[in-house]
Every structure is written in C-alpha cells, then in structure tokens.
C-alpha cells in the first residue's frame, strides 16, 4: 500500500491562522486550537460518518456548508464556524431530531445526562421548528441488562461504530429507510437472542440519548460514560 505523504497545511478558522496535517479534519484542527464547533454523531476515538450535520461550517467560495468532522483540511481555505445562516441551519437540524421521534425528557431515564437535551441549551433552542411526527416504535427490553428504545434514537450510529470498531463484534446495524430507520441486532433479532453481542455495554455508554440504557437504574443514578471510549482508544494507542 502506498502511504499518502502527510503534509502541513496552513489555513484560517474564523479569521485565525491555524496549521494542521493534511490527513486531519477541520474539526480536529479546530479542537486542537480550542475553537468550539457543536457536534453530535462525532465521538473522539470512533470513525466519523458525518450523519448528524450539527458540525457544519462555511468554506469561503463554497455555496453549501459542509460537516467539519468529515471534511479534510486544505491549504489556504477559509472556514467560518458560526454565522446567522449556520446558526439557523443548526437550529433546524436540532428541531428535526426532536420532532422525528418522541423525546419526552421528563419521563426519560437519561434526563439531565443527555447530549441531545444539552444541545438545546447550548444552541438556545426555544421550541421545535418542525411539527412532531408522533411515530411509535417497539421497545426491545429483551436483554437482561440493556434496553433499546428507538423512540429516543437520533440515528447517530455511534453504537454501531463502537461495536464494530472497538468491541469488534459488529452486532448492530441500521435497518429500514428514512423515517423508519432503526438500530437492529444481528438480523433484526431481539437483543437477548443476538449471537454476536458480547454484552459489553459500550453501545450504551456512547449513546448520546436515552435510546440505549441500562436496566434497573433510576434517572438520578444514570451516568453515561461516553469518554470511556475515547480513553480506551488512547490507551490502545490506535488513533
């Protein structure tokens, strides 16, 4: 395999001159320089898929905003991380996440420890800009320790990635299309019957919402250990 040479690139984020390596993403370089860009599907230590669009930025000369977690840096590019247009787009994206499924925070086990909920605070979303769809999905509570509630899923695919890339089990996948898409185990078996799941719980830890949670734990006790995966990967020295 011919390895691509890594070069140093200079460019600007919000008018600040920054430097990165050609294999880095805009988000990585922004983080290295303490420039905040809101994210959702991204989790340090996992691959990036650019599915949620929360991290969109504007590039000078490009018409459409692009997700900074998947966009590689380019020499001389000028990135803007926030503008009225980006802000409005992020609010719309967040609204769609809230209205697509049933997010009743007051009855949710991760109330207070949810990254979707905290995003509404961070982006100061007052209400959903899109009407609620009121879709209902069956909850899979077959597993002895964990529950999969697609009604609170935002389809970020963190669970799929952690199971595949870190646990090496690939027990999870996406099933269906569009609004009906949901997370399944194996060939859409109940979680308890999955032969590839090792019951490690990593998917539950990384899930930003209350879609995957531990049984028999009250709202007060829930602590999602999302950074554990980042730590694990760092210690393994892979990324």
């Amino acid at each position: 395999m011919i390895k691509e040479k890594v070069r140093v690139k200079n460019f600007k984020i919000d008018g600040v001159c920054v430097t990165g390596q050609s294999n880095q993403t805009i988000l990585e370089v922004a983080h290295d320089n303490d420039i905040e860009i809101p994210t959702m599907c991204h989790l340090r230590g996992l691959s990036n898929v650019g599915s949620c669009r929360m991290c969109i930025v504007e590039i000078e000369g490009r018409h459409e905003p692009i997700p900074s977690c998947t966009a590689k840096i380019k020499e001389g590019m000028e990135v803007t991380t926030s503008s009225p247009r980006i802000k409005a787009a992020r609010e719309m994206i967040l609204s769609m996440m809230f209205s697509e499924r049933s997010h009743t925070c007051s009855t949710c086990v991760v109330n207070g420890d949810c990254q979707l909920q905290s995003k509404s605070v961070e982006l100061e979303l007052g209400h959903s800009f899109t009407p609620y769809l009121n879709q209902r999905f069956e909850v899979d509570a077959s597993h002895k320790n964990f529950v999969n509630d697609p009604n609170r899923c935002i389809l970020c695919t963190r669970c799929i990635r952690v199971c595949d890339e870190i646990e090496g089990a690939h027990a999870l996948d996406l099933f269906g299309r569009g609004l009906n898409t949901r997370i399944i185990h194996d060939m859409d078996e109940p979680w308890a019957d999955s032969t590839s799941c090792t019951s490690c719980g990593k998917c539950v830890y990384v899930c930003p919402t209350g879609a995957l949670y531990e049984k028999d734990i009250s709202e007060e006790e829930v602590v999602k250990k999302r950074e554990i995966i980042t730590e694990l990967v760092k210690n393994r020295g892979q990324r």
Binding site: T104, C105, N111, S118, Y132, N134
Partner: protein, 177 residues
C-alpha cells in the same frame, strides 16, 4: 405606573407549572405590585377578558375547546408565554399521540369502565386527533421550558418582562428540568 394585565391559563397540563408559579413564594408580593391578574385558575373569572398584556399558558392543546380558547387568547393578548414542556413540546400530554385518541377513549370508557360503557358526548370537549404544542396553532412570543418550569425561572422571566431587560432563558431552565 400602569399595571400589567396578566392572564394565566391551565390547558392540557397537570397544573404543576401553576404550582411552580405559586412556588415563587414571597416574590409573588413583589410581582403583584406590577401586575393585575385578570384571568387565571387563581381568579374567579368565566370569560377570557379583552386587552390582556401577557398571557401565560400551561399545557398543550388536546381538545376543540383548547383550540378555540388559544385562538381567543391570541386575539386578546399582546404577548403569549408558553410555560412548561407540555405547552412547548406536548410532553406527557402528547404521549398518547403514539396510540391515537381512539385507543385512549376505548381504554378509558370501555375497557376500564364497569358500567355505562359509552363515549362522552355532552359537556366534555372532543379530543383532537393529536395533542399539539401551542406554537403549532398560534404565534407564541416566549418559551419557558421545564417540567415543571422552576419557580426561579418564572420569577426571572417576569422580572425581565416588567423591567424590560434581557435574560438568558437557557441558563435558568431546559426541557425536562
């Protein structure tokens, strides 16, 4: 100084947000110097009055009555404040949307009823097909989330409206708070 004409109403909610309002405790006395409560569950008034400055609405819209009254409130109020998650997202009140009104009526008036099994046809308002938040029916000026909205957030909000200052709502409350 002319007092602010304030209305408050309890639609499809649990009254928790109105309880939170009372939880402002002694600060209510302070607020009372600036407002006249012209319509509210705390006030004996049958019809929603004209020319209200601010109406605080708790609860989602679930019935034909809720829809009629929210339109009247919009016509008669300068400002509407959606108080609490039910008014803003539908919240617990909207959980039945996943099953539909028919299923809920069936359960309540047939499966769980020992005698007189039939749908109510008089006095009680008719359920809408789905419960909706206020802003899906009328324009809403302010959103103050929480389940219930904490008393401190209500106090800061009212104070800012009285004094005409800006506040950061999201530092005080959020969905599910």
């Amino acid at each position: 100084m002319k007092k602010i004409r304030l209305g408050t109403i309890w639609l499809d909610g649990c009254s928790g947000c109105h309880m939170s309002f009372l939880d402002m405790d002694e600060r209510l006395i302070e607020i009372a110097e600036y407002v006249d409560v012209v319509y509210s569950p705390y006030v004996d008034m049958k019809e929603f009055p004209e020319s209200v400055d601010l109406t605080i609405v708790e609860g989602a819209l679930s019935t034909d009555h809720d829809l009629r009254i929210i339109k009247k409130i919009r016509e008669n109020s300068k400002l509407i404040l959606a108080l609490g998650d039910c008014a803003i997202t539908g919240n617990v009140s909207a959980m039945k949307n996943l099953y539909g009104s028919e299923a809920v009526l069936q359960r309540g008036y047939f499966e769980l009823a020992d005698l007189n099994q039939k749908y109510p046809s008089k006095v009680v308002p008719t359920l809408l097909e789905s419960v909706i938040p206020l802003h899906e029916a009328v324009k809403v000026d302010y959103f103050l989330p929480g389940c219930p909205t904490p008393a401190d957030a209500i106090y800061e909000m009212l104070k800012s409206l009285i004094e005409g200052t800006e506040i950061k709502i999201h530092e005080l409350t959020r969905f599910g708070k």
